[in-house]
Symmetry: C2
Subunit: 548 residues, 2 copies
């Protein structure tokens, strides 16, 4: 039989838009003569609809959309089975909704499967909404017994805790020939090798081929990367769809499993190209779904804003990006010329708005209250905030969307000004450590100098006071990032980090800085998630706390 | 026997501070000759520790604190049974932790109960961390059989969905004489009458007296109000502890249940005094726990800032509050004089920082890019943001903490400037509708004019352009708030709201405004929660969405 993987890009709540993409998938599957087309998890409402689900007509519209898919099935080839994700009402005791996959054929909803393993950790909160199912669904296509398992249902052994049951194992015991796995599995660096381990683990355990169909697209902080695949019971990947783009493709399933086709894509598994592609796609899809077109960036001449500007130009086109240089009395000559050179290289517009007059006006106004006190953070923050007000002014007036340029290392230790450089509609690199920022810049420059070498090579500085350098306040970035990774991503404590070779005093200071800047991150923009533990939705910290 | 209710105020992660309060409770219980002292849910780690729990030594320190309570029990009266909340490690399959209550007596941990019903809706996410228990704990004190049920365990029928089991019912069937219910049950307006319904419902169902011990204090957005009580099986409240303050009190339990003592407190059930007390306590406890002392407020001469300033003075003392008037070219004479009069009435310091020069400097700097375009939102926002930069400058320089003064009606419809009047460390009235703001102002003025009548009576205006009035852009507040309540708190759709007598066009516009301003609320400060559905943690909305 022929099986079609419909790796589509849905938007939460956009029932009519999502239906159009479903129609494309059904048409493509029909044209290819497929027996089965599989769409991602929660296809019709979109995966991350969160509390929109409580809206009184949300479920009704989602069921109406399901009905429209049933209608579509009347008009396509009668042998086609459509597997589509939607939300059901729970009529029994428990949470009000269910996470379902329906099997539609010849104008009827033939089978309904209710997801059994509902993730509730990190960025996932499915148990907030859904009651888990407790029954399996298997259906026949010709002589092939197809079993359904939605996303987490197949990840029972591969998370930070174990589940009490394994839907895959039960399917195997019931004699399934194939497991199909509609998914919404967000990207992070290393996720793909994690997936490879999971799926090769699963085919080993169950001795069954698995068809994994993941969605693609940005849902607020989360980037879904697609990378759908058909895996045979010997671990062979018969077909793999591209990452970070919509794709509909058909594969043949025979007696010995999936037959490798010529459409197989070999994905970059190097972290840098993946990170680069993920971020560019993240900006592009976020903008498209939010109805944004143009971006504005505060171009300091530093590497963070240079990277974000480059990613934005690659995502949105140079004609849609405006770089704004806002030199102060502490800005070096080089900062402006480096920033200009970057915009020249990229071909985007670039303007200069000096902040001296504004800075003076603030100082004069505040002078009666600041006069006796030594200069310090307050004066530095005035500059960062003056710039944010200018950028937001341009945004409000001209329709540019402000991109935030803070990196994860800065966000972690609070080396950033709330309502200053922490402003923006989207944090592009808030989940990218400073050392990764350098690596990405070099990756972008691998063939030619796009980001001026001078920007990469100069010593990092916020330029908010004379002769300021990042290294005045922070450990060198390789050390800082090493500590941060262990603390944030690996949940290690000070003692465990010191064992890895770091200085206790430095470690304690860094951990303190992270804990003391929760209040800044509380008000930060949404951050494109590219690591297994990003700031934001997946890391919920109290502000009122006294720890450690 | 004698039973002591230890309604204490804990801080997440503050093991040593929490232990000191436990010691006070044990001492008081010992002195009163009590047989039993009951502390609130998750006493030792504090209720809302959220992802701090993943810190590698968090659980160890929490178990160490438990050990110290065991030590304390060696030194107190041997008949005293101590019921204390803490976190356990789950050694079986499932989530990594457990929400426990331990019963300690004479130097040993005699019984451990694992909470069975774990809330995960609105502001609650206990299933993110805890594996539910499935066994009951009953222990004897003399001839009295005491059953344990932690918070939600007794709310099985009283939420937006049903649980599959009822720990209270099983305790009754096993012959318990008394149910004790250590709790962390956050305040919202009307919660107390909800509790009354729950507890009278429970004593009816089980025909058993219930002892409810709730914590008090602010945990980030949540205000826990205490109001602990002992309820007899005829529904009689034998003792009720005060709201919004720590309190330790002992009650006699005899053959016919609790014997009403003279310590019973009759609580205000009027919403206005409750709201007033809750907000004042909210500011005070938030400041105390965050180590803050002084607050700064942008005093516009409008009612929102006047209310917040008054609440801040009542919470922190006039000597700790600074009001900053920042008139622009559009500010009326009255605004400054009204704001001055308020500070005179309250006795706090008040300074004036005109923003004209700053405003001019921005306009001049932006003129090359703004010149041909009509004046509008961008110019208005420049003023709001200039003020925020001044306030944050004072905050950074002088150590004042900025209080946000946006009300819930404005926050709902986005009638506020991101990085402008949306700034602040804490949103005091972000869960208080504008109509409630007026009611609170009048309540505060019930005996004398504290908030100048002129501030209450004048037409609301942001004064960001000539002759501006709120009513230019928004429906009258009673209508706006009526619609918002139904949409946000009652989850009603447009059709259902129109049936209540509102104009369809107005309703649709308001709903659209609410949906379109999610991006502003995403970056808003923490909001003190005083309603059953506040913006923030309990209302999780996607930014990327297309709905309705």
């Amino acid at each position: 039989m022929k099986v079609c993987l419909a790796q589509i890009n849905t938007t939460p709540g956009d029932f009519s838009g999502n239906l159009k993409k479903v129609q494309l998938g059904i048409d493509a599957a029909s044209t290819a003569g497929a027996d089965l087309v599989v769409f991602p998890e929660l296809t019709l409402p979109g995966y991350l609809s969160q509390d929109l689900i409580y809206n009184p007509d949300f479920i009704a519209r989602n069921l109406q959309a399901l009905q429209e898919v049933v209608e579509m099935s009347v008009h396509c080839h009668p042998k086609l089975h459509i597997v589509i994700g939607y939300i059901g009402k729970n009529t029994g005791i428990g949470k009000p909704f269910t996470n379902l996959a329906g099997v539609i054929n010849k104008g009827s909803l033939a089978h309904i499967y209710q997801k059994q393993l509902l993730p509730f950790y990190d960025v996932f909160d499915e148990l907030r909404y859904f009651e888990p199912g407790n029954q399996l669904t298997m259906f026949n296509i010709g002589s092939v017994k197809v079993g359904l398992a939605i996303c987490e249902d197949l990840w029972d052994l591969y998370n930070n805790f174990e589940y009490t049951k394994s839907p895959g194992e039960v399917l195997k015991n019931l004699g399934a020939d194939l497991i199909i796995n509609p998914s919404a599995s967000p990207f992070h660096l290393g996720k793909d090798s994690h997936r490879n381990r999971v799926f090769s683990g699963q085919v080993n355990r169950f001795n069954l081929p698995v068809l994994y169909v993941n969605q693609v697209g940005v849902h607020t902080e989360l980037i879904f990367d697609g990378s759908s695949r058909a895996v045979n019971n010997n671990g062979e990947v018969a077909i793999q769809l591209p990452d970070f783009e919509s794709c509909i493709r058909t594969v043949e399933f025979g007696e010995n499993g999936f037959i490798p086709g010529d459409g197989a894509v070999s994905l970059d598994t190097d972290p840098l190209p993946q990170l680069y592609k993920g971020l560019v796609f993240g900006i592009r899809d976020y903008f498209e779904k939010m109805g944004f077109k143009k971006a504005v960036i505060g171009a300091s001449g530093g590497i963070d804003s240079a990277l974000v500007q480059t990613l934005a130009v690659h995502a949105l086109g140079a004609e849609n990006v405006l770089a704004v240089m806002m030199p102060s009395r502490y800005s070096s000559e080089g900062s402006v010329s480096d920033a200009k050179k970057l915009s020249d290289n990229l071909g985007n517009s670039c303007i200069e708005l000096p902040i001296q007059d504004i800075h003076h006006a603030y100082e004069n106004t505040l002078e009666p209250y600041f006069k006796d006190l030594p200069e310090g953070l307050a004066e530095e923050n005035l500059q960062a905030r003056s710039r944010a007000v200018l950028l937001m002014g341009l945004s409000n007036k001209l329709g540019y969307i402000l991109l935030n340029t803070s990196n994860k290392s800065e966000m972690a230790v609070g080396y950033s000004t709330l309502y200053g450089d922490l402003c923006g509609s989207l944090s592009v690199i808030g989940d990218v450590y400073k050392t990764q920022v350098y690596a990405l810049a070099n990756y972008i420059n691998r063939n030619e100098e796009i980001i001026p070498f001078n920007i990469i090579e100069k010593e990092p500085s916020a330029e908010l006071r004379p002769e300021q350098k990042d290294s005045d306040s922070l450990p060198p970035y390789p050390i800082l990032d090493g500590i941060l990774r262990m603390y944030i991503e690996e949940f290690k404590g000070a003692d465990e980090i010191v064992i890895e070779g770091y200085d206790m005093h430095t470690v304690q200071r860094v951990l303190q800085l992270v804990n003391n800047s929760e209040y800044k991150r509380y008000q930060a923009p949404p951050i494109l998630r590219v690591s297994a533990k990003a700031f934001g939705k997946g890391r919920i910290m109290p502000l009122v706390a006294k720890y450690p």
